[in-house]
């Protein structure tokens, strides 16, 4: 059931150079040529074809801005590709931007509830999980307080505890999270590994090549939105490492900077 198929997928962002697009630009800019604010095209992903199925663990490596996180968001259904076809079979759980999306005025408990709802839980299933989440976060009585008063570390702890309390079919991970103080970090890592091993299919972005090699069987190497290499995880990582360590490779895909 769990499978991902990409067929020539591409994604082009049209970004306004000045961050605004006003009515004036829209009407006047189209009447008279020489719009001062033309949209700039950023080719974030180009011509990706890929097929993975149940049991696969796919790692994605590449420089900053190579399109790794963008690809994850395409897989999650948040970005719709502008070219090609994508087919994702199975329920997708994603672990990125988890620090976002707290309702600051809500208490820890309230935030547990509705973030779980966003992940597709029902009040009944949340009831069973709530205490486990609370216990894992070790926040105790702080959960009765509005999240506004939490420290950044506490917020991350709570976010992590909620986000990882799932039974993933397809799991998308943007970096293995390192959360909290030393003691919590070990615990969090163990939980993350355990969850990733339970997933039917996983796609993971990481700069931590060691963990990547340990967790994944396949890997792709993205560069400026193109797939430079795809195949066995160890081979791809070896090639990527060589390119970073050795003399800089010639930039074959000379497209616009996908910053």
């Amino acid at each position: 059931m769990a499978q991902i198929e990409l067929d020539g997928v591409g994604l082009t962002f049209r970004v306004q150079q000045a961050s605004r697009n006003t009515l004036k630009d829209f009407f006047i800019g189209q009447l008279f040529r020489g719009n001062k604010n033309p949209p700039m095209e950023v080719k974030a992903l180009q011509d990706l074809t890929l097929r993975i199925g149940k049991g696969d663990r796919l790692g994605i490596v590449g420089h900053n801005g190579a399109g790794k996180s963008t690809l994850l968001r395409v897989l999650a259904g948040i970005y719709q590709p502008t070219a090609g076809r994508i087919k994702v079979g199975g329920r997708v759980s994603s672990l990125f931007d988890i620090a976002l999306g707290f309702e600051m005025d809500g208490t820890g408990w309230e935030n547990i509830a509705y973030r779980s709802y966003l992940q597709g839980e029902t009040p009944r299933s949340v009831k069973g999980k709530k205490d486990a989440i609370a216990e894992f976060s070790e926040l105790g009585d702080f959960l009765n307080m509005p999240v506004r008063y939490y420290s950044a570390g506490m917020q991350m702890r709570l976010a992590f505890s909620i986000a990882t309390a799932i039974d993933p079919e397809i799991l998308l991970v943007d970096e293995i999270l390192s959360v909290g103080d030393m003691a919590f970090q070990n615990k969090a890592r163990a939980r993350m590994m355990e969850m990733m091993s339970r997933a039917h299919l996983m796609v993971m972005v990481s700069h931590d090549l060691k963990s990547l090699a340990k967790m994944c069987n396949y890997a792709i190497w993205l560069d400026h939105g193109r797939m430079l290499m795809w195949g066995d995880c160890d081979e791809v990582i070896a090639a990527y490492t060589a390119s970073v360590m050795g003399p800089p490779v010639k930039d074959t895909a000379s497209t616009q900077a996908a910053a």
Partner: protein
């Protein structure tokens, strides 16, 4: 379309809890809490009654409920239009994490407004009862289908304004001004006769707010069942606005995130 509605229903716990949270945080730490929602229309009605009541030469026990019915309705419209503009921005962090149907974010805005409106409406009904009494209370039940129409109308407006504002940020400001103008063009605080008598009443027929106001006021202010044609007109307006909302969402839903 059916699948889309199912998806909205599927994440009902999510948007319902957001609505609940919005209401709670609105009153957090305030002394009167929900009482503010009641006090606001009462204060406005009192002030306008004192200031303009004499001008309009209306008996106060009739004018006060009439006015309050208009004011509470208008604040709902203002929530779904001006507030609707912000829907996607308020939900930005969720939109970036999860591909939930976009319509739930305007829905959240609308339901928050609807909660306040329902409080206001109860107040209006009570006020009319206290000041004037109901010779016939049965027509009040016609408010149920009216409210259904109004909710749909509000939701579609919120969707439209949210979608347009995400593309053109000027919309928010234009809406504020436009709404102000509409307020005076709509018989919110005066009787439609005022315009009809002067022969400038024709544009009332082109004002989409007027049928809704009539549907709301007929049973409360006149103890009468509204004219079926008014229902038909209101339903037609809802049909147009929801069709526009569906079309707008269809074409823009997956583009929204690129404009946040």
């Amino acid at each position: 379309m059916v699948a889309y509605i199912k998806a909205i229903w599927g994440c009902r716990y999510f948007w319902l809890s957001l609505v609940k949270m919005d209401l709670r945080s609105r009153y957090r730490g305030s002394l009167l809490g929900i009482g503010w929602s009641l006090l606001h229309p009462i204060a406005m009605t009192t002030i306008i009654c004192i200031a303009f009541g004499a001008l309009f030469e209306a008996p106060i026990e009739k004018f006060a409920p009439y006015l309050m019915a208009g004011l509470t309705f208008w604040s709902f419209i203002s929530t779904v239009t001006v507030g609707g503009c912000q829907s996607f921005f308020n939900g930005e962090s969720y939109i970036r994490q999860h591909p939930a149907p976009m319509a739930i974010y305007p829905l959240r805005t609308m339901l928050g407004g609807a909660f306040h409106y329902s409080l206001g409406l109860m107040l209006v009904i009570a006020l009319a009862g206290v000041m004037r009494g109901y010779e016939n209370a049965w027509p009040l039940f016609t408010l149920i289908p009216t409210l259904m129409l109004l909710l749909l109308f509000g939701w579609s407006l919120a969707i439209l304004f949210a979608v347009i504002n995400v593309r053109f940020r000027d919309t928010n400001h234009l809406t504020e001004i436009g709404l102000q103008i509409m307020f005076y063009l709509t018989p919110v605080m005066y009787y439609p006769d005022l315009l009809l008598k002067r022969g400038v009443g024709t544009f009332l027929y082109f004002n989409p707010m007027v049928p809704f106001l009539e549907l709301l006021r007929k049973p409360i202010c006149d103890c009468e069942v509204p004219d079926p044609t008014t229902y038909l007109i209101a339903a037609a307006i809802v049909l147009v606005s929801s069709t526009a909302a569906v079309v707008a969402l269809r074409s823009q839903e997956r583009q929204v995130i690129f404009h946040l």
